[in-house]
Amino acid sequence: MYKEIIFYSASFLILLFGILTIFFRNIFYSLISAICVFFLAGILFWLSGSEYNAVIQFAVYGFAVPVILGLGIMFTRKGKEEEEEKTASASNLKNILLFICGLFILAVVYLVLISLTIFPYGFNLEANLQNGINTYNNFRIFSKGLFIKYVFAFEIISIILTITAAGLTVLKKRRNV
């Protein structure tokens, strides 16, 4: 029963924040809504039996990607801040969004705690056992997938990541010269 409640509430909120991301005029509010969407997608991963993907989603899309996007936003805010300070009348909305973000963080902490104490084998243990997947099996799945079955794709992505990091550094240096 708890799983259905979490799923339906997460689904409703993911769509709500997704739509709000598009329709917010202030880009900071859009970013906050997008962070909520990414966290809620991580909760959906968790519910579908992939705890490690959920943790990666929280780490990459919940923290790293918003930092990059926030830097991009801050880069474009020069000169706009004074104009927006005059026209800003949405301070209540900001407080509500911050409150909702706080609730999400508390919910995630609660989910982690409850999964560690009451459900040590994951939320959908029964379904996972029926499908032959369990929390301990995830390690085997990832190791087999990354290093045996899809090792070529894994190497390609590693090369792409390396090329991207090196390429961005070279471009930046060339621009500075």
């Binding site: 029963m1 799983k3 259905e4 409640i5 799923f7 339906y8 689904s11 993911i14 769509l15 997704g18 739509i19 991301t21 598009i22 880009i27 859009s30 970013l31 997008a34 969407v37 990414f38 997608a41 959906l44 991963f45 579908s48 039996g49 992939s50 490690y52 993907n53 990666i56 989603q57 990459v60 899309y61 990607v65 990059i68 996007l69 830097l71 991009g72 880069f75 474009t76 959908n124 379904a127 996972n128 499908n131 032959g132 997947i133 099996n137 995830n138 799945i141 990832f142 997938g145 990354l146 079955k149 899809y150 794709a153 894994f154 992505i157 792409i160 990541l161 991207t164 961005l168 621009r175």
Partner: protein, 102 residues
Amino acid sequence: MAEITLYHYLVISLLLFIIGLVGSIMCKNIIKVLICIEFILAGVNINFAAFANYCGGAEGDGFVMILFYTGIGAVELAVAIYIFYFMYSKKQTDNVYQYGDL
């Protein structure tokens, strides 16, 4: 309350995909466009997780694919932000319609 099936996940991922697609077409701000593209990737990842859980058996290949997509998504975002940095330095605007000569 109805039991959660594969179709529930498919509907949610489809709606998230549509939100991302519509947003990436409609929005003028480049940051919003990038966020919406990440929504598209998130919708695809939810599909992968659902199929791996309900149809994948013990293999769980979809979970591995999510890892790849997450890595590719982060790289794509970093490259896009860097291109945006160059374009903003040149054009002094974040409107994508002004970036015609990319």
